[in-house]
């Protein structure tokens, strides 16, 4: 237990040192936002067994609400973040009430469809700025800190991330989390023990939506804008991929997955060029234009051969070694 805590502490201190070691703070912040998004998503798929294919809706909602709150209403930054988070949780409640009525594949299809509906709404609603997005959202101040400096913002974002991560940890290891796990493992049995599984799933859905919202709100703060990308269905696919790559149902998996996928998106062009130079195959040079192709391949490989994800496989390996020694 304590060892685990130490491990997390080391991890976060490590992340905290990154910018000082020359890492690019905005990049790390972006990864943190997506890591939070993936962790929130994982709360649902990994710990409750519900595969939402519409999580971008919550990221997007919060991004727009926070963006609007900070830019148009001029609310203080912390309030803006909270408002965005609540907005996402509210949308989560509405979606949840509908989607919870079906399970399995249908649940996925319904969340996907609802999110798409919201996407079209955002596309047309005047306050989102349509396809131009909501630009130049001010960062403002946080508890007296001026956030215009990337480094200051970085530590604030890291603090938000740690707080949210702690909350997720808490949820997973709470009486509520226990019931969620039991629902994931055997819903019929949980029902037969007297749990109204629909209510638990709904609360999990809302919590996950709210936390995904926090990720979206923070992302708006970091990058200074909210756009349709946050709400489009491929973003929902992306977060699934992150979680799948990292390891569904593990706490750190989604973080690792987010890092891998974001890095991939950013670096694949360079990687392609490098391969192109190495092999002389010109096609590799255009790899940067084929992010979705590569993402798709990773998806296929993960589903076919690698379902536990990086962290999951690593843990399984450790366990095996421990068992054999």
């Amino acid at each position: 237990m304590n060892k685990k805590l130490l491990g997390y502490a080391a991890l976060f201190i490590g992340i905290g040192l990154l910018p000082l070691l020359g890492a690019y703070p905005v990049f790390v912040m972006k990864v943190l936002c997506f890591a939070l998004f993936a962790c929130a998503f994982n709360l649902l798929v990994g710990f409750t067994g519900l595969l939402s294919f519409g999580h971008a809706a919550f990221l997007g909602t919060a991004a727009y609400v926070t963006g609007h709150a900070l830019k148009v209403w001029g609310l203080p930054t912390p309030v803006g973040l909270v408002v965005g988070m609540l907005g996402a949780a509210g949308v989560g409640l509405l979606f949840g009430l509908l989607a919870i009525r079906r399970s399995g594949i249908y649940f996925s299809m319904i969340t996907l469809a609802l999110a798409q509906m919201l996407y079209f709404f955002f596309l047309q609603a005047p306050f989102t700025g349509g396809e131009d997005g909501l630009q130049s959202v001010p960062r403002g101040h946080f508890l007296g800190l001026d956030l215009t400096s990337d480094l200051t913002l970085f530590y604030v974002v890291l603090a938000i991330f740690i707080a949210a991560f702690w909350l997720i940890y808490r949820i997973v290891h709470s009486p509520f989390g226990q019931v969620l796990t039991s629902i994931r493992e055997n819903e019929a049995r949980a029902t037969s023990l007297g749990y109204d599984t629909a209510h638990f799933k709904l609360l999990a859905f809302v919590l996950s939506a709210g936390l995904a919202g926090l990720a979206g709100a923070t992302k708006t703060l970091v990058l200074g804008f909210a756009t349709l990308t946050d709400a489009i269905w491929t973003t929902s696919g992306l977060v699934i991929l992150m979680t799948l790559v990292g390891g569904m149902g593990t706490l750190v998996g989604p973080m690792v997955g987010a890092l891998v996928i974001i890095a991939l998106e950013n670096k694949i062009g360079d990687f392609g060029n490098w391969l192109g130079e190495l092999t002389g195959v010109a096609w590799f040079n255009s790899l940067g234009e084929s992010v979705s192709l590569v993402t798709g391949l990773i998806f296929i490989v993960c589903v076919l051969a690698f379902r536990r994800g990086l962290v999951g496989e690593a843990m399984a390996l450790l366990e095996k070694r421990r068992a054999s020694s």
Binding site: I105, A113, E289, S292, L293, F299
Partner: protein, 295 residues
């Protein structure tokens, strides 16, 4: 002139007819999804990508091989069907024992790859594809000018839908399929090669998508992304109809096309979302969908 809610009747009729055209595509695609779901228990996310592939094959046939529309109307579904066989044999078949969600994720990955390939080779701006000569021109119906090609689309899709329905409901092969959906193990115990049947079902389902793709090619630009927007709407159609019956998915598809058509007249802003709104309402009233079976 007769008006309904301020819209002249002829205009309304025209819109209904156009809705039917779109509905034909929904019907063909949701039909394919339903057939695949029945045997494989997999929601084939790649359906949209394979539909796009059908359209592309039609275009490529003409561009590289000089094969005309009518030839490709047969060849493209065949080719896509073959690809379906490869997909099923090399990937999908390993997932049947797992949670159905993995099927959805895998086919999602396949979608990204297929789209990625076409996009990296052909870009995304559409390739033009001419209406075949025999179907050029339009017919004046009095209340509207209906391009002959669109009329053909409705007819062709109705024929295909009906043929699929007849194949499944009226033939011995169909009997095997229906039996397989009820109890695949027992059917296999009669010496029927169910795994092969599953493969062929998948091939058939995606061939249907490709057929729809070829039909769509002259109407829409042939482009790498033409399938991915459509497929989400078709998913909503599937949720609305419920995976109950073949006829059900055809009717739901056509019906929603018409609903969408009417929305374009009365409140065009909502035409993108109306299907999803209908879905939400149906979920509230009949969670299993209009034609869905009890759980």
């Amino acid at each position: 002139m007769t008006e309904i809610f301020g819209i002249p009747l002829p205009a309304l009729l025209g819109q209904l007819l156009l809705g039917l055209v779109n509905g034909s595509f929904y019907a063909m695609l949701s039909l394919g999804l339903a057939v695949i779901f029945g045997m494989l228990n997999i929601i084939n996310f790649a359906h949209g990508a394979l539909y796009m592939m059908g359209a592309f094959f039609a275009w490529m046939g003409l561009e590289y091989l000089g094969l005309n529309y009518w030839v490709m109307l047969g060849l493209a579904p065949l080719a896509v069907g073959l690809i379906g066989i490869v997909i099923e044999r090399t990937m999908l078949q390993w997932l049947y024992k797992l949670d159905h969600l993995y099927g959805l994720l895998l086919t999602f990955g396949i979608t990204l790859v297929i789209e990625g390939v076409f996009r990296s080779v052909y870009g995304v701006s559409g390739q033009p594809y001419q209406v075949p000569d025999a179907l050029q021109g339009a017919t004046n119906l009095g209340f509207m000018v209906l391009p002959n090609y669109r009329a053909w689309v409705v007819v062709a899709s109705l024929i295909v839908c009906f043929a699929v329905w007849a194949l499944i409901e009226k033939t011995s092969l169909g009997a095997k399929l229906r039996a397989g959906t009820e109890n695949p193990k027992l059917v296999q115990a009669f010496g029927i090669n169910v795994p092969a049947m599953v493969t062929l079902t998948y091939a058939g389902g995606v061939a249907l998508a490709a057929f729809a793709g070829v039909l769509a090619a002259p109407i829409l630009q042939v482009s790498a992304l033409m399938g991915s927007n459509l497929i989400i709407v078709v998913f909503a159609v599937v949720v609305i109809g419920g995976m109950g019956s073949i006829l059900g998915s055809i009717l739901t598809g056509l019906g929603l096309g018409i609903v969408e058509g009417l929305t374009k007249v009365f409140y065009p802003e909502a035409s993108n979302t109306v299907v999803f709104v209908v879905m939400a309402i149906v979920l509230l009233v009949r969670p299993a969908g209009l034609f869905g079976k009890e759980k």
